[in-house]
């Protein structure tokens, strides 16, 4: 493979003796035929805890351990921001969808489109600069003020501090991603409001609020659930970039460092874990959808 990990270590400034080189090769199993390496790899993958090998960057810590230390932070970031983004996006969508073409609608759409095209990380840098550096309202890096590790974990008393640190990264994610929900919710609302059962609801003498929320929005929400599932990959990608900007110790920042260090085992492990997480999220979204739509049987 190009960029083989050995060439990294085989830098003459680090390893000079061929014997040592040979020993390293054996250690990492790189001297065996490729197909054996692959079988070994799969075996390791499907055991528990999954053995992704040792990280180069954090040698000799196993990749899995490294990932597991950072995973919770990303889950926290992505999970909470997804919920907030979905709620805000849906609310905005309902309001604008019920009056398409109005001034409110057009201005919201314009603003949303601008925010939507902003790269996640650029928005992060701006927010960091304004609120973190210039106004010193929020911290500019890390997840907590004091150092922490597996042996010195954070406790309940650290929660306000953690939230304070998480605020800017989450704001970035919410601002950059809400438009994905609001624009589509708006269009779905417009479609639903032209359906026959809405006419019926109005004919029944229901208040406009009951028609909008109780009927139109309830139907329009269903595709949103699927959308949340579909967007998880997108939000995760965004979160990775945002973590880099804020030096937030999640998987994104880890990936950044892994790329810089050519730490392939770590990268492979990361890719695997993140993919599994996203696929699981999608699956959960499908299940949730089936739960809410009476027309689907699972």
């Amino acid at each position: 493979m190009p960029g083989s990990p050995i060439t990294y270590f085989a830098n003459p400034h680090i390893i000079t003796s061929p014997a040592a080189l040979e020993a390293l090769k054996q250690r990492f199993g790189l001297d065996k035929p490729v197909w054996v390496q692959f079988t070994l790899y799969l075996e390791n993958l499907f055991s528990w805890p999954p053995n992704f090998g040792l990280s180069y960057l954090f040698y000799p810590t196993p990749v899995f351990t490294v990932i597991m230390e950072c995973l919770p932070w990303t889950l926290f970031l992505v999970g909470v921001s997804t919920i907030i983004t979905a709620i805000i996006g849906i609310l905005i969508g309902v309001v604008t969808g019920s009056r398409p073409g109005s001034k409110l609608d057009t201005s919201v759409i314009s603003v949303s489109m601008i925010l939507w095209t902003m790269p996640f990380f650029w928005l992060g840098i701006i927010l960091l600069w304004i609120f973190g550096l210039t106004f010193h309202l929020f911290p500019i890096a890390g997840a907590a003020s004091r150092g922490f590790s597996a042996s010195n974990p954070l406790g309940i008393s650290d929660i306000p501090d953690v939230l304070w640190h998480a605020f800017l990264p989450m704001m970035t994610l919410v601002i950059a991603a809400y438009a994905g929900y609001s624009l589509i919710m708006r269009n779905t609302m417009v479609n639903e409001l032209s359906q026959d059962y809405i006419l019926m609801a109005r004919a029944k003498g229901l208040s406009e609020r009951a028609v909008l929320l109780g009927h139109a929005a309830r139907n329009a929400m269903l595709p949103m659930i699927t959308l949340i599932g579909l967007n998880v990959g997108y939000v995760v990608s965004g979160a990775l970039l945002v973590e880099i900007v804020f030096a937030y110790p999640g998987l994104g920042y880890l990936t950044y460092r892994a790329v810089l260090a050519h730490d392939f085992p770590l990268l492979q492990g990361l890719f695997f874990i993140v993919s599994v997480a996203v696929v699981t999220a999608n699956y959960l979204a499908d299940l949730t959808y089936a739960f809410f739509d009476p027309r689907i049987k699972y």
Binding site: M113, F121, I125, L133, V232, G233, V236, Y256
Partner: protein, 293 residues
């Protein structure tokens, strides 16, 4: 439909009037305007740009704020930010358009073939697209790019690979519905070959959806390219809006060089918006209910 039927007969064909609607649409006008301006900048970069962004020694002092000499200030090396912006337009827009073109072409072919021939061909092709669709795009791109080595070609390749499946899916579902329409059957009965059906019937009808999506894809590609550069997976020796932000991320903040950070970002947003506006305009002309005017 409860409303009365419309009265006047249209004197021009459907398609021509739709095209006219797009051109007249304010959003499309703004969008096209932006794109034309930036394309002009990109194409005439060596002529228009006040300095070369690769100039050695650099023309100005590092981190100097915007002034008459350097309209957008200088970066950490003292290079003119405005020049970097103009040259960067070349790379960013080129990458965006190439990726959109490749992904659209490949995706359309796959989608049409899958939708038209159905069954096993469809199953197989859709498995392939699903694999890519399910995996989150950025991690996938990172891992591919990390193995392929940082370069412009890597970026283009990686972006195309993660974008074409969506096109294929959309095109496939449209093809499926078009295939069931009577006019396809009548062509087939008249003895038209598959190729003829695909090119004469399906493609023209798919044209709108393809166009609207392709335009949107340029935006995603440009933002994606910026993202990859930002992480350091692009060719950092080439000046693009993404690589500008890569360097700016490390050096701009603590040296107060806000112009260096704002300029490439604003350009990305503007160009992205331009394409999004065009895409939205195309979509709303063909689906009147979504209109906002």
């Amino acid at each position: 439909m409860r409303k009365s039927e419309l009265i006047t007969k249209r004197t021009e064909s459907h398609e021509v009037s739709k095209l006219r609607n797009i051109i007249v649409d304010r959003r499309a006008q703004i969008g096209f305007g932006i794109i034309i301006v930036f394309s002009f900048l990109a194409l005439t970069a060596p002529i228009i740009s006040p300095y070369s962004p690769y100039a050695f020694p650099s023309p100005g002092r590092p981190y100097s704020p915007p002034s008459a000499k350097f309209l957008l200030g200088t970066d950490y090396l003292g290079e003119d930010v405005l020049s970097e912006l103009i040259y960067g337009a070349r790379v960013s827009m080129l990458v965006g358009i190439i990726v959109a073109f490749l992904a659209t072409t490949f995706g359309t072919i796959v989608g049409v073939v899958a939708g038209y021939y159905g069954r096993f061909v469809d199953e197989g092709l859709m498995r392939a697209t699903d694999i890519v669709l399910i995996l989150p795009s950025l991690p996938l791109m990172i891992i591919l790019a990390a193995y392929l080595g940082p370069s412009l070609q890597t970026v283009i390749f990686v972006l195309t690979v993660t974008t074409w499946p969506l096109v294929a899916r959309v095109v496939r579902s449209q093809t499926l519905s078009l295939r069931e329409r009577p006019f396809t059957d009548s062509e087939r009965v008249a003895g038209a070959s598959d190729f003829r059906i695909i090119t004469k019937i399906l493609i023209p009808n798919l044209a709108t959806i393809i166009a609207a999506n392709a335009v949107l894809m340029v935006t995603t590609a440009i933002v994606g390219e910026a993202g990859l550069d930002f992480i350091g997976l692009g060719d950092i020796t080439v000046v693009s809006w993404g690589t500008m932000l890569y360097w700016a991320q490390s050096y701009a903040i603590f040296n107060g060089a806000w112009w260096w950070v704002m300029a490439p970002g604003i350009c990305i947003v503007l160009v992205g918006l331009g394409f999004v506006l065009i895409s939205v305009s195309i979509e709303s002309v063909f689906n009147p209910r979504l209109r906002t005017s």
